[in-house]
Symmetry: C2
């Protein structure tokens, strides 16, 4: 059979099928195929975070027998990494994977969707978001942007970053140039440091030549790949500005509404699974990376001085009260978040950390 | 048009459609409908646990445009609550929602799928299961039973239970009749208590009339409904035998293999979401219930004495080593679980609880 004949035959079968009453009755998009683009804020090298987008796309495809395809683009591949939200908002892409706190320049209230300094742990953030009213408040906040969002993973508590010299007290923090963006940077500034906003690729050289004194990134698994241990040996904990940062899958609301119901659910359920697996990946991989950093790279673990922690926490909550007084969107979220945080703290202190502290202090054989 | 004519016309269209090459190519079951039954081990009154089965069923239905229906039956409604695994194994039901550690009578190794005393927290269990090799080992262990399983939620760390009188030391534990089943009961027995196995409905009367001295159940949200605070005022923490018990969705392997691939994925992804939301529900509701128990019911919170905790932990690990020496299935899982637990402990102690301890100790305004 000639190639042209074969094609003709396929086209004929196709036309007949397209005219059958069964197919005509079904919604066009349901019997059709949809191709979406997802802009990620993250480079492929951050495989644990970036990978969550790929996981979601893969599951959605499997759930829809391949009819709903999502192609994931790494940060800066299609749109600037820190403009993913804008790109979803204006429809350049149908969806994105990012962190809401990258967009605090638009409104500080974005931070509640990710984390605030001295805020919720990963489990507490999930509890607030999914069962404490957080999700509804965040969707209400995002509505004017024409964007809806789904929880998109969590890194767990991050590390406090890499310092070229030890910091023994709040006083020694004064004047240090520390790479730390966002509200964490704001708090650092108020307690005396000089926060710097530097893109991922530029941190290492700045740290190496001493243009900055310290830099925070994520945690052992991601930090190890950046090689910071070669130029700054003091690795501080805890990362009090990121106790449990939640990532987000953003979706253009109009695009979402065009999907058949079952595909909307497919996106939502796949997002939930990808979020769970991201945290599991970090929790499984961070300990191994930490051991390598200590044993192979002579990294020195250091805890932030108590007076600095106390000053930072007080400053953070002063900042939230200030914001709440002048920003109604922030105030609305804060009024839900703050008492929830307090209750969670009481409960986790009792049931969870009391047992964890015992187990971590009293090693079993 | 006569009704008969209309029917005839519809049937004709139906036949034509059934003969189209497109439809013949599709797997029969995919175009059909499937009705499954899920036996839960839990009563509807434990809405947080029981509800996870309903959530899964609802999502699977939505994901498959209503073609794959799962009807959930509460514990003892269809099959005995503690024989859910057996019912899935022998095909009485296609799937179940239960806890693997109910089946340690068959093999102690079942416990790794749920929890072991002084074991992993909820997050650590998820990390081990999903990204630490646990899932593969559990599936391998279950294969001879013809059952596959999916993580089916977690309660978070449970409470230590309700005591009629305070227990101030290990010595005072001696001879106390405590309702506590499974391996937790085994450890309690080895450190001097007299563990009792009593079904949920019979605990309250036994506690009321003093037939037992104490009883453990779940945590504040579930315990409150049981009313234990009326007959035993001392509420102990932490529940060291259940740091992060994971529930399971069991599926008859043959039934699962008959599903089209996209429905298998629907079940798996919906299970993951239900699991995440169960823990979020507990984390959101336990603190509120605890506050009610203290403020409205004058419950007294008590921590287990340190010497008892130490004796219990040592005894637990002695027990695991014993089991590993005589039970190859237990040994195989233990060899994965034990070093994973140790690494997680080091990491969480550093990054997570150091920050949590600071925040819970230093209340912000």
């Amino acid at each position: 059979m000639q190639r042209r004949d074969l094609l003709q035959k396929l086209l004929t079968v196709g036309s007949a099928a397209a005219l059958s009453p069964k197919l005509l009755a079904a919604p066009a998009v349901s019997e059709g195929r949809v191709q979406w683009r997802m802009a990620s804020s993250f480079p492929k090298s951050l495989d644990t975070i970036y990978g969550a987008g790929e996981m979601l796309a893969n599951r959605v495809s499997l759930l829809t027998d391949g009819k709903f395809q999502i192609r994931v683009f790494a940060g800066n591949e299609l749109v600037p990494a820190l403009q993913v939200f804008d790109s979803v908002q204006n429809g350049t892409v149908e969806c994105g994977h990012s962190a809401s706190y990258y967009y605090v320049g638009k409104n500080k209230a974005f931070a509640f969707d990710t984390c605030l300094p001295f805020g919720l742990t990963a489990r507490q953030q999930t509890a607030w978001y999914q069962r404490g009213g957080g999700r509804q408040l965040i969707q209400e906040f995002l509505r004017p942007y024409g964007v809806i969002s789904f929880a998109g993973g969590n890194t767990g508590a991050q590390m406090g970053g890499w310092y070229r010299q030890p910091v023994r007290s709040l006083a020694e923090l004064k004047g240090l140039k520390i790479r730390i963006p966002g509200i964490g940077g704001e708090i650092m500034s108020r307690i005396g440091a000089l926060p710097q906003t530097i893109g991922g690729a530029d941190i290492y050289p700045a740290l190496e030549r001493g243009a900055i004194d310290a830099a925070e990134w994520v945690g052992p698994y991601d930090d190890e790949k950046m090689g910071f241990y070669k130029v700054a040996k003091y690795y501080y904990f805890p990362g009090w500005w990121e106790a449990g940062p939640q990532l987000s899958f953003f979706v253009n609301a109009q695009a979402f509404l065009k999907l058949p119901r079952s595909w909307q659910i497919a996106f939502e359920v796949a997002a939930s699974e990808a979020a769970t697996l991201m945290l599991a990946s970090y929790d499984a991989q961070n300990p191994q990376a930490l051991i390598r950093l200590i044993n192979q790279h002579q990294v020195r673990l250091m805890s932030f001085p108590e007076d600095m922690m106390k000053a930072a926490q007080k400053t953070a909550f002063d900042f939230y009260e200030e914001q709440a007084a002048s920003n109604p969107a922030f105030a609305k979220l804060y009024r839900s978040w703050k008492p929830f945080r307090r209750m969670e703290g009481g409960w986790f202190n009792l049931a969870e950390t009391s047992l964890e502290n015992f187990m971590y202090k009293n090693a079993s054989r």
